[in-house]
C-alpha cells in the first residue's frame, strides 16, 4: 500500500506543478490557456528526444526548457493581437498542432508509437529508494515553485498581472507594458510545466502523443477550478484531491463489487459533474483568491 500511495503522491505533485503553472497564467494574468498540455509536452519530448539521440537527462532537461521557452514566447506573442477568449482558442489550436507534429514526424518523435525505454532518473539501492528520492525531488520542486509564485504574485509584478487581468485597457493607459508582462508571465509559468513533463517522462519511461491529448489540459483545468482560480494553495489542493479521487475509484469499485464498465463511466461523471458542480455552486473554488492581500 505504501508504494501505491507513494505513486499517487508523486503523480499528484507533478500535477500540482502543472496546476500552479496554469494558475499563474489564468488565475493571475488572465491568460486563459487551453494549450497547457503543450508546455508539459515540451518537457516530455525534451527528455525523449535527448534520450533518443544518446544524450543524458541533463541535455534532455535543457532541451525541454529551450523548447518550452520558445512555445511560451509564441503564446505570448499571439496575445498581442488577440482578445483573451480568442487567445484561449488559439492556444488550444497550437496544442493540437504540436500534437499533430508529434504524431506525424516519425523520424524525429517516433510518431504515434512514441519513444520508450527512458531510464529512471534516480536509482537508489532499491527501487523503492529511487522512487522515494524522485518523490522528494518532485515535492521540493512543488514547494519551491509555490514559494516563488507566492512571492511573485505578492510583488508589484503580481499586482500588475492582476491589473492586466481585470482592466487591460486601463493598465495600458497607465503605461504598463502589457506585452512584456504577458511574456514574463508565460515564461515564468512555463518552466514548472516543463519540469513536470521532464520528471513524468522519466518516471513513465515512455513518451508518446497519447499523453498530450487536449483532454489532459482539461484535467488540469478541473484541478484549478476545484481548488480555486487565483489561489496557489487552492490549486495544489485541487490537484491532490483530483488525483486522489482518480486513484480511489478502483478501490470503491472493489469494495462495493461494482462492475468495471460502470466504474469507467462513473469516473467520467465524477470529474465532469464535479467540475460543473463547482462552477455552479462554488465558482471561487475550495480556497478562494484573497483580494486586497497585496501592498505591492
Amino acid at each position: 500500500m505504501f508504494e501505491f500511495s507513494l505513486h499517487v503522491a508523486t503523480i499528484a505533485a507533478l500535477y500540482g506543478l502543472l496546476a500552479l503553472s496554469l494558475n499563474l497564467q489564468t488565475g493571475f494574468a488572465g491568460l486563459v490557456n487551453f494549450g497547457q498540455i503543450a508546455l508539459f509536452g515540451c518537457g516530455t519530448y525534451g527528455a525523449a528526444l535527448a534520450f533518443n539521440n544518446q544524450f543524458g537527462p541533463v541535455v534532455g532537461l535543457l532541451l525541454g526548457l529551450v523548447l518550452v521557452s520558445l512555445v511560451a514566447l509564441f503564446f505570448a506573442r499571439l496575445g498581442r493581437s488577440l482578445g483573451s477568449d480568442y487567445w484561449g482558442i488559439a492556444t488550444l489550436a497550437i496544442g493540437q498542432i504540436l500534437l499533430t507534429i508529434a504524431t506525424n514526424e516519425t523520424w524525429l518523435t517516433g510518431g504515434a508509437q512514441g519513444i520508450s525505454g527512458l531510464p529512471q532518473l534516480f536509482t537508489g539501492s532499491t527501487r523503492l529508494q529511487g522512487h522515494l528520492i524522485l518523490f522528494s525531488v518532485t515535492l521540493a520542486l512543488l514547494a519551491a515553485t509555490w514559494w516563488l509564485f507566492h512571492r511573485l504574485t505578492q510583488s508589484k509584478f503580481g499586482l500588475s498581472l492582476r491589473l492586466m487581468r481585470e482592466e487591460p485597457q486601463f493598465a495600458a493607459s497607465l503605461g504598463y507594458d502589457l506585452d512584456g508582462l504577458r511574456r514574463s508571465a508565460m515564461l515564468v509559468a512555463a518552466v514548472p510545466a516543463a519540469l513536470s513533463g521532464f520528471l513524468f517522462a522519466h518516471y513513465m519511461t515512455f513518451v508518446g502523443p497519447d499523453q498530450l491529448f487536449s483532454t489532459e489540459t482539461f484535467v488540469v483545468w478541473t484541478m484549478v477550478v476545484i481548488g480555486g482560480l487565483g489561489s496557489h494553495a487552492g490549486v495544489v489542493v485541487g490537484a491532490i484531491l483530483t488525483q486522489m479521487l482518480f486513484a480511489a475509484v478502483p478501490f470503491a469499485k472493489d469494495f462495493f463489487a461494482l462492475p468495471s464498465e460502470y466504474v469507467a463511466a462513473m469516473r467520467l461523471t465524477l470529474i465532469g459533474g464535479g467540475l460543473l458542480g463547482f462552477l455552479l455552486l462554488r465558482p471561487q473554488g475550495l480556497i478562494p483568491e484573497k483580494v486586497g492581500s497585496i501592498r505591492g
Partner: protein, 361 residues
C-alpha cells in the same frame, strides 16, 4: 436504498480473498478506445465463467480484477500499481494502445509480474522483457500475411489507408515493408484523423493514384463512414481489402461492403466456434471488434499455465506458459510463443464479403 442494496449484495457475494486465484486486467473502458476495451472485457468475462465452470484455477475460483485505463497512461500506471502493490496479483492482462502497454508492462516486468498483452500489436512489445507474453500476433505476423495475400490477388500497386494512431502507423509501415519485399509497391499511405464527419477528401486523394486495390483497416464508426463514402464516390469499383475484416465492416451497411476482400482472425477452429457461439449467446450480437478473442485467450492461457504449474506464482507460471505456449488451441487459433514469448503463429482467414455475408476464399 440502491446503495444499501448494492452493499448488501456485495457482502453476500464477496468471497474471502484467499479462497480464489486473482489476476488483474487493465483495459480502456472509457476514452477513445472504449469500444475495443469493452470487447476485451467481454472476452475476459466469458473466459472467467468457463474457467470457473471447469473447476477454476488450482481448485479455486478465478477472479479477474478489471481496471479502466481511461486510455490515459497515468491512469493505467495507477491501476498497475494498485494491482501489484495492493491486490498482489501475479499477472496482469492489458492494455490496448501500445503507448500505454509499453510503460505499464515495463513496470510489471520490474516487479517480476507476468504481463499478457492482449491488444497491442506494436513490434516494440517484443523488447519489454522476460515476463511479458503476447497472445496477439504482433504487426510483423499480420502484415506478412496480408501482404502475401494481396499480392496473390494479383495486385501490384496499392494505396494503404489507416487511422493516424499507433495501430495505423504500425499496420501501414509493416504492410509496406512486407509488400515491397515480395515485389509489390505502395503508391501512397493515407493516415486519417479518427472521428471525422467525412472522409471524402482522403478518398478522392487516394483514388488519384489509380491503385489496383485499397488496403485499409479502420475501427467501427470511421470504417462505416469510409465505406459509405467510397460507395457514393464509386471509389469502391477498385477492389478494397480489409485488414481485420469484421472490425472494418461491423458498423457498415451490407450494400456498401459487398464485394470487399479481407483477412480476419480465425474463429472457425474447434475452440473458436464455441467461443463465437458463447459470445453471441451472452451479448446477442456478433463480435464487435477483433479484440474480444484475445482477452478470452489471455485468461484461458493463464489458467492453463497456472494449473499446469500447480502454482500462481509468476516464476512458476512463466515456465509453464512457455510449456503451454508450445502449442495451445485458443479461440483465435493455435497460440505458439517464439523465444521472445511473442505469438509467432496466427492463422488468419481469407475472406470475401458476398451478398449473403462473409465467405471464405
Amino acid at each position: 436504498m440502491r446503495a444499501a442494496l448494492l452493499l448488501a449484495t456485495s457482502l453476500l457475494t464477496a468471497v474471502p480473498a484467499a479462497a480464489q486465484t486473482t489476476i488483474g486486467a487493465i483495459i480502456p473502458l472509457s476514452g477513445a478506445s472504449a469500444t475495443q476495451g469493452e470487447d476485451q472485457r467481454r472476452g475476459i468475462e466469458i473466459a472467467v465463467e468457463e474457467v470457473n465452470a471447469a473447476g477454476g484455477v488450482l481448485g479455486k475460483p478465478l477472479k479477474v480484477i478489471v481496471e479502466d485505463s481511461g486510455g490515459r497512461p497515468p491512469s493505467a500506471l495507477d491501476a498497475a500499481k494498485k494491482l501489484v502493490a495492493v491486490d498482489k496479483v501475479p499477472a496482469v492482462i492489458g492494455e490496448y494502445s501500445s503507448g500505454i502497454t509499453l510503460p505499464m508492462a515495463q513496470y510489471l516486468m520490474q516487479e517480476g509480474k507476468i504481463h499478457i498483452n492482449a491488444g497491442s500489436s506494436s513490434n516494440k512489445v517484443r523488447q519489454i522483457g522476460p515476463t511479458s507474453f503476447s497472445v496477439i500476433g504482433l504487426e510483423a505476423v499480420s502484415s506478412r500475411f496480408s501482404a502475401v495475400d494481396a499480392l496473390a490477388m494479383g495486385w501490384k500497386k496499392v494505396v494503404v489507408i489507416g487511422p493516424n494512431n499507433a495501430y495505423g502507423h504500425g499496420m501501414s509501415e509493416g504492410f509496406k515493408e512486407e509488400f515491397e519485399k515480395i515485389g509489390g509497391s505502395v503508391a501512397s499511405t493515407l493516415l486519417y484523423t479518427e472521428g471525422q464527419t467525412s472522409y471524402r477528401r482522403e478518398l478522392q486523394q487516394a483514388a488519384q493514384f489509380k491503385p489496383d486495390a485499397f488496403i485499409y483497416s479502420a475501427y467501427g464508426k470511421d470504417a462505416a463512414l469510409i465505406n459509405r463514402e467510397s460507395f457514393e464516390l464509386s471509389v469502391n469499383r477498385t477492389p478494397w481489402y480489409a485488414i481485420y475484416f469484421t472490425m472494418c465492416t461491423a458498423d457498415s451497411k451490407p450494400e456498401f461492403v459487398t464485394g470487399q476482400y479481407g483477412m480476419d482472425l480465425n474463429f472457425i477452429g474447434a475452440n473458436g466456434k464455441g467461443y463465437e457461439e458463447a459470445y453471441r449467446k451472452k451479448y446477442g450480437m456478433g463480435f464487435k471488434t477483433s479484440f474480444s478473442g484475445y482477452g478470452y485467450d489471455a485468461v484461458k492461457v493463464f489458467a492453463a499455465a497456472a494449473n499446469k504449474a500447480g502454482s500462481a506464482e509468476p516464476e512458476a507460471v512463466k515456465a509453464a506458459l512457455m510449456e503451454v505456449g508450445k502449442s495451445y488451441e485458443g479461440a483465435t487459433g493455435t497460440i505458439a510463443f517464439d523465444a521472445d514469448r511473442q505469438r509467432m503463429l496466427q492463422p488468419y482467414l481469407k475472406l470475401r464479403r458476398g451478398a449473403e455475408g462473409m465467405e471464405q476464399r
